[in-house]
Symmetry: C2
Subunit: 358 residues, 2 copies
Amino acid sequence: MTRTFTYEELFSFTVSIFKEIGCPQKDAITASRVLLSADLRGVDSHGVARLSGYIRLWEKGRINAKPQIKVVHETPSTATIDGDAGLGLVVAPTAMELAMEKAYDVGSGWVSVKNSNHYGIAGYHSLMATTKDMIGISMTNASPLVAPTFSKERLLGTNPIAVAIPAGEEPPFVGDMATTTAANGKLEILQRKGSEAPYGWIQDSDGQPTTNSFGVKDGGALLPLGGDREHGSHKGYILGSVVDIFSAVLSGANYGPWVPPFVSFLEPSQNPVGEGLGHFFGAMRIDAFRPAQEFKDNMDQWIRRFRDSEPVDPDQNVIIPGDPERALELERKRNGIPLLMTVVEDLYSLSEKFGIGL
Amino acid sequence: MTRTFTYEELFSFTVSIFKEIGCPQKDAITASRVLLSADLRGVDSHGVARLSGYIRLWEKGRINAKPQIKVVHETPSTATIDGDAGLGLVVAPTAMELAMEKAYDVGSGWVSVKNSNHYGIAGYHSLMATTKDMIGISMTNASPLVAPTFSKERLLGTNPIAVAIPAGEEPPFVGDMATTTAANGKLEILQRKGSEAPYGWIQDSDGQPTTNSFGVKDGGALLPLGGDREHGSHKGYILGSVVDIFSAVLSGANYGPWVPPFVSFLEPSQNPVGEGLGHFFGAMRIDAFRPAQEFKDNMDQWIRRFRDSEPVDPDQNVIIPGDPERALELERKRNGIPLLMTVVEDLYSLSEKFGIGL
């Protein structure tokens, strides 16, 4: 069961809620744009479904609605930002803008962020760069749910990486991926259906493979991309670790098992190793490497060659990363965004609590 | 059956062979150091086993022993290098040095390379940065052997990514991974043994999963990390694509199915889309983000927390990426490098051909 809302309805509601908790108008708009881009692009777990979660964190004093976002360390091509416990939805675009300014000045810009919170979908931030003829990179660490290869313990988040690359006539290439076999949102879908999870997605609390889709809730863990050692899970573990280190060890945020949980009913570590959670952003001007038009022409050819390659199944062509999300975004902007009733009820409670109509 | 040689024996032999084909002394030493680091670190497929392959490419005129390596495009933090068809083993360290110089000057340096050849193991180049308190990144495209998700065609190489991160008292973190489920070298080991390959490593010429370890030779393909769609092969495909684009579309090298094959008996494309194959390197000064000692202290804590985490099997602790290769390097420097007899015979033919003793 779902109910469908227009983008505009949800956007204006979300802006009002963020303003109610004290966000300046400009920040409320930015945060809403980032949040809803997840709903538009089909990453429903990271969209308005999380709005009440952000509000609960604010109620607990773990999100600062009026952050003073500051550059605390800097070189011509790099910076570290202190997010002042602000919404990641606001801190992240600020950091990405800085990376792009540096790329404009010296060819590339790289910004590590501490003292932030959950930043929505990784892809949004990387895509900011493509309209300026830049490659955009975005990554973040997250609450520990993932066990490194050979470990029983949850030491890493699903730690996504997004890379957005502009083309010429073709739309940009947008890879946006958790560094696990499956994102947590996919597991939640199986849980709602009462279905089993495929082998290779999760392990139980003894570290043994399980197909119980509640395995993570029962003390198990998500598995790094690859699933098991024989299928390269040590590579997913490397990727998740690099995201953690770039996001948090470079910036001074919490890393590994110390990353604060997104859910308000779990308390952050009493002995933090840093401040908040961390992100990492990069921007590279394509004409810092070769004339932009040459790059775009080659990128168009790259995309067409892959899209037109011979498929295994004639009914399923090869997908260029970013294509399905872009198609869905157009469709949902036109026809509205379907929300599960549990999410709708959540929004109605917020509506009642703050006296904001939806 | 193997025969064991000391590092010094193989090094002096390799230097002499590279000098015989016309490499300047300095380049012959660099190339030998890179090549043999693979043997020391246990990536036997990328070490002296490939020496005769490089020589055959030189005989075909596809490797230039006296390249004029040139910077063809530049900003303060980026550059594109033309490798002039030189040995990748020489071009790559030159490019990495430039990335490090730029990082020294402006915080980070990023170098894309065209017109190069196979560059040995990715990890070697990334590790160059750690001795200077920098993070090192290295990637390269390679001969097409990998099918994107849903494709029958081989459009990508095993396109490795290496990231080396310095620590304080702990040795550096070194992730060095093909973006496929299994590297081609692992498949060759199974072929020699006549063993089957695990499900998820390869597909046959119809694009169907196969456990036939000769599947790739029979017109099939290696599979991207993840193995199949359900286990996230689209993520391995994203990673391999990003490596291809950063290495070749940014630089003007050949990309995708146009990448020239390493083996001399396969001719490069008659309609190349760029020059040679491509690499991409990055260097970031850790003190471009925060004081180096703070970073190192946190990195030591990160490494120790992961290494000491509770293992699934008490006899198999969690591995820090880079640890096994470092241990093997020490062992092989002390006790010598065991080579398969097929490799030894290959070296003896080179010895005879060039009149260089081994």
